[in-house]
């Protein structure tokens, strides 16, 4: 195998894991755009959704039926979380809200452990084995599948936000909630919808990553860190940035692990931290984000 093919091979694998980071980052960005909240519990909610999918399949449902049911449950769950956990602290200082999402993180994690125990569970790979051979570079169907799912989600979100009146209303609320209320928009419902969408997109990331990582309550901990790096890199306000950031982080992680021998497999978890630190130092708003301008 030539050096170039080897490099490309590593990059392709990086894209596969990057797509998973991208979908969780997308969920983080959705909520941040609507509410200004960084939801530390996003990964745990995704993990919970994955358990729902697992439970459905354990009771005999085929994967491709369990998936839409799981997404619907996650959608409803996202609405409930906004209404019950987040709404009461709306308008509270940022730190309060952060602590609430951290509390939600711990609660959901413990809840999953209580119901399903902390033993690792096998999660079926929805995509067929094997893959394509592109000039010596092997692309697994699962990698293609994950990339495809993320592309479809991006496309659907784009259509929703740019071409429907519900999307227009959501963008208006994200931009100026006070004026949205004065225009007769029920902002509470729109925020519920935002959390519901984020929970749904997050659920996808959980289901996509579970076959690789195996299902257990702490499964999403690492993914969340990578998603934070992706969202920071892309800009916490930009869905496109989240996806580009996710793919970049995935590739960077794989290449660093493979080629920088000081780092290697063991230390490559440090890559997202380096990325977060570098972005915050050089361009705090991220690649696609806008600098926050505060009127004083």
């Amino acid at each position: 195998m030539s050096a170039v093919t080897d490099l490309l091979q590593q990059a392709v694998e990086g894209l596969g894991s990057g797509a998973v980071y991208a979908s969780l980052a997308l969920a983080l960005v959705l909520i941040h755009r609507f509410t200004g909240i960084i939801n530390f519990a996003q990964g745990e909610l995704a993990m919970l959704s994955t358990y729902v999918a697992w439970q459905l399949m354990a009771s005999g449902m085929p994967f491709w039926l369990a998936l839409p049911v799981t997404l619907a449950v996650s959608f409803a769950g996202g609405m409930l979380v906004e209404r019950i956990v987040i709404r009461p602290v709306r308008g509270a200082p940022e730190l309060t809200v952060v602590i609430v999402t951290v509390g939600l993180f711990i609660f959901v994690n413990a809840l999953a452990g209580l119901i399903w125990s902390f033993t690792v569970k096998d999660f079926p790979q929805p995509f067929p084995d094997g893959g394509l051979d592109l000039a010596g570079v092997r692309v697994d169907w699962s990698t293609l599948g994950i990339l495809g799912v993320v592309a479809v989600v991006m496309g659907l979100l784009y259509l929703l936000f740019q071409h429907t009146s519900a999307g227009l209303v959501m963008r208006a609320v994200a931009c100026n909630p006070a004026s949205a209320r004065l225009s007769g928009i029920r902002v509470g419902r729109v925020l519920m919808l935002g959390w519901a969408l984020a929970a749904t997109v997050g659920a996808l990331s959980g289901v996509l990553v579970a076959p690789v990582l195996f299902l257990e309550p702490n499964m999403m901990g690492g993914v969340l860190i990578y998603a934070f790096a992706a969202a920071t890199l892309g800009g916490f306000d930009s869905p496109v940035g989240a996806v580009v950031g996710g793919l970049f982080v995935g590739v960077a992680e794989t290449l660093t692990g493979a080629y920088v021998h000081v780092v290697g497999e063991d230390l490559k978890v440090g890559v997202p931290f380096v990325i977060i630190l570098a972005v915050l130092l050089v361009r705090p708003q991220g690649l696609f984000g806008r600098a926050a301008v505060e009127r004083v």
């Binding site: 009146s165 208006a172 006070a178 209320r181 004065l182 007769g184 928009i185």
Partner: protein
């Protein structure tokens, strides 16, 4: 709008009785009474801190108030801003409050949001919104030229036009304008006030305008109320208040006077 719940005369289209409102411990309004007739332009004047903005905020549900405020016989107090908007109150806050990330036309479409509640669907709704857009572009031709531009890229005057245009999209029963002249060049402000006058004449929209620039507001108003320290100190036809030199001096500053001199 929907039919009135109780009998109201045209004179008490908007009726404010014993309105108390404020922010936390700070009580700004201490029992305000006034009424606005249907189709009237009413100016609320007074020095800084008199409670003009607070009055508007209480009317549109942005802050809580005690007392009673009825629009066409329906109680407005105790409602959220979105509920007040559904009852026909369109509030253009100080500092404009446009959706800066959205284009001009998208801003106006948000204004048409309430049309969804009217039972129109699909093509019929699109036709209604298109007609409303035409109507607003008729008043504000400059917005038509900029329809694809982001609202954030507009000049201050254009943003104020957009904010008013958006408020007018659902054909509100009551238009509340908070300091529309704030930060705008005199020429732009004059143009804006002329458009408000035109809207009032053509659509019989009832308007309550809060202004520091008393002279401008009195030019388009039928009636004026002067506030001081949260209380109404003077009410009357705009023409009479404009002519009353003493009032001008005491409550409205020198602006009216210098106009007389000049």
């Amino acid at each position: 709008m929907s039919e009135p719940v109780t009998d109201v005369t045209e004179q008490n289209f908007l009726e404010v009785r014993g309105l108390h409102a404020g922010y936390g411990q700070a009580r700004v309004l201490q029992g305000l009474d006034f009424s606005v007739a249907r189709g009237e332009v009413c100016a609320v004047l007074g020095p800084n801190g008199a409670g003009k903005t607070t009055t508007l905020r209480a009317l549109c549900g942005m802050i809580r108030g005690r007392g009673s405020v009825t629009l066409n016989g329906r109680e407005l107090l105790g409602r959220s801003p979105e509920q007040a908007a559904r009852l026909g109150v369109a509030h253009v806050p100080e500092g404009r409050g446009t959706f800066n990330d959205l284009t001009v036309e998208e801003n106006l479409r948000i204004g048409a949001h309430l049309r969804t509640g009217s039972g129109w669907r699909g093509r019929a709704r699109r036709a209604v919104v298109a007609a409303d857009l035409e109507r607003i572009y008729g008043y504000f031709p400059r917005l038509r030229q900029r329809s694809r531009q982001a609202a954030g890229s507009l000049s201050g005057g254009e943003q104020q036009m957009l904010a008013i245009g958006r408020a007018l999209m659902p054909r509100p029963a009551l238009l509340l304008l908070d300091e529309p002249s704030l930060g705008l060049a005199p020429l732009v402000t004059r143009e804006l006030f002329e458009i408000v006058r035109a809207v009032n004449e053509e659509e019989r929209t009832t308007v309550v305008v809060v202004e520091q620039n008393a002279q401008l507001a009195l030019d388009i108003a039928h009636r004026a109320h002067v506030l001081e320290a949260g209380r109404l100190v003077l009410s009357g036809p705009a023409a009479r208040i404009r002519e009353d030199g003493q009032v001008a001096e005491v409550y409205l500053g020198v602006s009216v006077r210098s106009r007389k001199a000049g």
